[in-house]
């Protein structure tokens, strides 16, 4: 699971504390357990070693004592104390026969003279010795018995001298009459030790006298050396102990560590010493440590898995909630809620319930907000459109108003000027009429005066014409539309137009003869102006073309063309402006009137001109609605 790999911090925190709380003590206990077990194992090993030492010291004591008792029992025999040499010889032979450890036996009288001597390695009838100075003789004579004097018999075996006083059974109080002395081999002890502690093993056991004499050793080879001794370090330790028994760790100069135990041998002042390398004890302890650690490892692993499961169980709903909260934060409400577990009966369950409630409310609110935003956007767009449309309308209206105002101003001025000029013009006209009349009544009128009067009259007419043109252009009047058939209307107009003789007229009318709705007076003025212009630019000879056509877009075209010199391109875009003229005498209103009339008819005018070929004006007028007949 992808989410599992991204376990949250909470899970790790729980895991951490769980481990700290549960594994910590386990580790501490385990550590202590291992330590304790190591110590106790060592102690146990040591005490075992000690008890071995004690047991063996007992064995040594018994061994020696049993031999001593054999000697003492023999010496106490009535037959033996009679000091009958023959009888004594019999007994001694018996002893040698039965007790293999006995090496030599001798009997001495009270004066310290040997009376009898026999031994396994002695030739028959050996030389008798004087022993009154011997320690064993003096000891036995004084205290009844003597055990001591260790030696290397024949330089090899450790041997012990045991002496028992032979007591006169008759005498009151009893008094010693001789000494029975035995030299016994201690090889048996080494054999016993080697059986108990085989030389192949690492444990070593030894019996040692206080002076360092090696009585017995688990390794027989050690004993058979003439100078057999224990190492001085060990010897020093065990001989200086005040207790009867004990043990402990010994550090050897070579760095090795030993576990050593000792026990004093009763009645003999010897010490039994048992040692084994500390590794052996430690090996056991290490094994135990290993096992403990293994168990501990399993425990930790179990706890880890368990706590993982617990942490996961606790944090799973929280994590899901967090993911859900993330999605919610991004405004995604459409997520699948099926992976959200049903609320548990605890704080997390409460949190989940609260969150889901909050989410629902948020979803609702967000929905409302989005809806409101969309509404607002739509409304804004609508408003923008409205504002744009209104702005365009206003702009158009403003343009129209400016144009109208300008035209109105021109009109007003023209009207005033026209009116004001017409009065003096009328006066001049009246006066010249008066003069003409008066002259006409005279007998012989001067022909030059008459000619000038004609000039004045002509100029008055022209001035009046200009005034009329200006006033016509600036006049504010309502259109009076009238439905006409374009061909018919034009035909009538052309028929009354005063074309000069040098001008030809060429007509090409559309047979469809479309209907148009026009103010005939104004439209007539426009067409007349165009024809008039055409005639003016062709003073010698030329043709006026008049053509009508129905356009594909439904407009009706009236084309007025001439074969004059054409209009220079640089002035072509100015010709429709009011008061623009290239003529010597002209108001510059002819084409302006054309444009004004076309505007008023919701039509348009354009011009095409080519030098030396002529100019064509095209008037486009909307076609009239088809009238039902």
């Amino acid at each position: 699971m992808a989410a599992g790999s991204r376990r949250g911090k909470l899970a790790y925190k729980i895991l951490f504390w769980f481990l700290l709380i549960s594994v910590g003590p386990v580790l501490v206990v385990g550590y202590n357990l291992v330590n304790i077990s190591q110590a106790s194992l060592r102690k146990e090993t040591l005490s075992m070693q000690e008890s071995l030492a004690v047991g063996f010291s007992d064995t040594v004591n018994k061994y020696v004592m049993s031999l001593k008792n054999v000697i003492a029992d023999t010496a106490a025999l009535e037959d033996f104390s009679s000091m009958n040499a023959a009888k004594q010889q019999q007994y001694l032979n018996r002893i040698l026969q039965v007790h293999l450890a006995v090496l030599e036996l001798s009997v001495a009288n009270a004066q310290g003279q040997e009376t009898l001597r026999t031994g396994r390695f002695l030739e028959p009838n050996p030389k008798l010795r004087d022993v009154e100075e011997e320690e064993w003789f003096l000891g036995a004579m004084k205290r009844g018995q003597y055990v001591g004097h260790l030696e290397r018999f024949q330089g090899l075996y450790p041997a012990l001298t045991i002496a028992v006083a032979i007591v006169d059974p008759e005498a009151q109080p009893p008094r010693p009459i001789g000494v029975l002395e035995a030299k016994v081999s201690l090889n048996g002890l080494s054999t016993m030790l080697s059986m108990e502690f085989p030389p192949a093993g690492k444990s070593v056991a030894a019996v040692v006298a206080p002076d360092g004499f090696l009585v017995a050793h688990s390794n027989l080879k050690e004993v058979y050396r003439p100078d057999a001794r224990l190492p001085d370090d060990i010897l020093k330790i065990i001989t200086t102990q005040s207790n009867e028994k004990g043990g402990g760790e010994i550090s050897m100069p070579d760095g090795s560590r030993l576990l050593g135990a000792y026990s004093d041998v009763r009645d003999l002042n010897w010490v039994v010493y048992v040692q084994q390398p500390i590794d052996i004890a430690n090996k056991t302890a290490a094994e135990m440590t290993r096992q403990t650690l293994t168990v501990l490892g399993w425990v930790v692993l179990c706890i880890l898995l368990l706590s993982l499961a617990v942490a996961n169980h606790i944090t799973q709903p929280v994590r899901l909630l967090r993911e859900l909260a993330d999605r919610t934060g991004r405004g995604q409400f459409e997520g699948d809620l099926s992976d959200i577990p049903s609320p548990t009966n605890d704080e997390i369950g409460d949190l989940q319930q609260t969150f889901l409630t909050m989410r629902d409310s948020l979803k609702e609110k967000t929905g409302e907000l989005i809806h409101a935003k969309q509404e607002l956007e739509r409304f804004t767009k609508f408003l923008e459109k409205r504002v744009d449309a209104r702005t365009r309308e206003l702009k158009a209206a403003q343009d129209e108003l400016i144009k109208k105002e300008r035209l109105a101003a021109i009109g007003q001025m023209a009207s005033v000027v026209g009116h004001e000029i017409r009065n003096p013009l009328a006066v001049i006209n009246n006066s010249i009429y008066f003069i003409k009349t008066k002259l006409g009544q005279a007998s012989a009128p001067d022909p030059k005066v008459a000619k000038h009067i004609k000039i004045i009259e002509s100029e008055i007419l022209q001035a009046n014409g200009i005034i009329n043109e200006i006033l016509t252009y600036s006049r504010q009047r309502d259109l009076k539309p009238e439905r006409v058939l374009v061909n018919n209307w034009l035909e009538e107009l052309l028929s009354v137009y005063p074309f000069p003789p040098h001008i030809a007229v060429e007509k090409r009318f559309d047979p469809a003869n479309p209907a148009i709705e026009i103010d005939t007076a104004e439209m007539q003025q426009a067409v007349r102006n165009l024809i008039g212009n055409g005639i003016e630019v062709m003073p010698q000879k030329g043709t006026i073309h008049v053509r009508t056509a129905r356009q594909a877009d439904g407009n009706v075209l009236i084309e007025i063309g001439d074969t004059g010199p054409g209009i220079p391109p640089e002035v072509l875009d100015k010709i429709f402006a009011p008061f623009f003229t290239t003529k010597a005498r002209g108001t510059g209103l002819g084409l302006a009137v054309v444009r004004k009339v076309m505007d008023r008819h919701r039509g348009r005018v354009d011009v095409e001109s080519a030098a030396a070929r002529g100019t064509i004006f095209r008037l486009y007028l909307p076609a009239a609605w088809e009238r039902r007949r």
């Binding site: 004001e420 017409r422 006209n429 009349t437 008066k438 008055i460």
Partner: protein
């Protein structure tokens, strides 16, 4: 109107030159011409002389020509009333003028020969 007597003509206009030139031209044609420079003076003169023809400007300093026209028509149905104008008159204005009693309109400057003929025509119709 007794024959042999010249027809009486009243010209009402604030422009003295126009008045005089017009009067003198028409006198040549055989009219007895009177003049007035304003509406009030014109009406007064008309009361006094009882003109056969009144030629008046539509625009006068103290009144509109139409008002004089209305006033004079009230006084006499026979008087020929001719309106002079320096500007274009709309059809509506013309119609209004005719309803108030105007007989003819003339736009300045006017053809005096035509005017003279037209006045004589109107006068002769009145005689019948």
């Amino acid at each position: 109107m007794p024959s042999g007597k010249l027809p009486k003509l009243l010209i009402i206009d604030d422009d003295a030159h126009l008045r005089e030139s017009l009067a003198e031209v028409l006198e040549l044609d055989g009219f007895e011409c009177h003049q007035a420079g304003a509406a009030e003076a014109g009406i007064e003169t008309a009361k006094k002389i009882d003109p056969d023809v009144v030629i008046m400007d539509i625009q006068l300093p103290d009144s509109s020509g139409f008002q004089i026209c209305q006033e004079l028509r009230k006084r006499s149905k026979a008087t020929i009333l001719i309106m002079m104008t320096g500007r274009f008159l709309s059809a509506e204005e013309k119609k209004q003028g005719f309803e108030l009693g105007a007989d003819e309109y003339m736009t300045k400057p006017f053809d005096l020969a035509e005017l003279s003929v037209r006045i004589k025509q109107l006068l002769s119709r009145n005689k019948i």
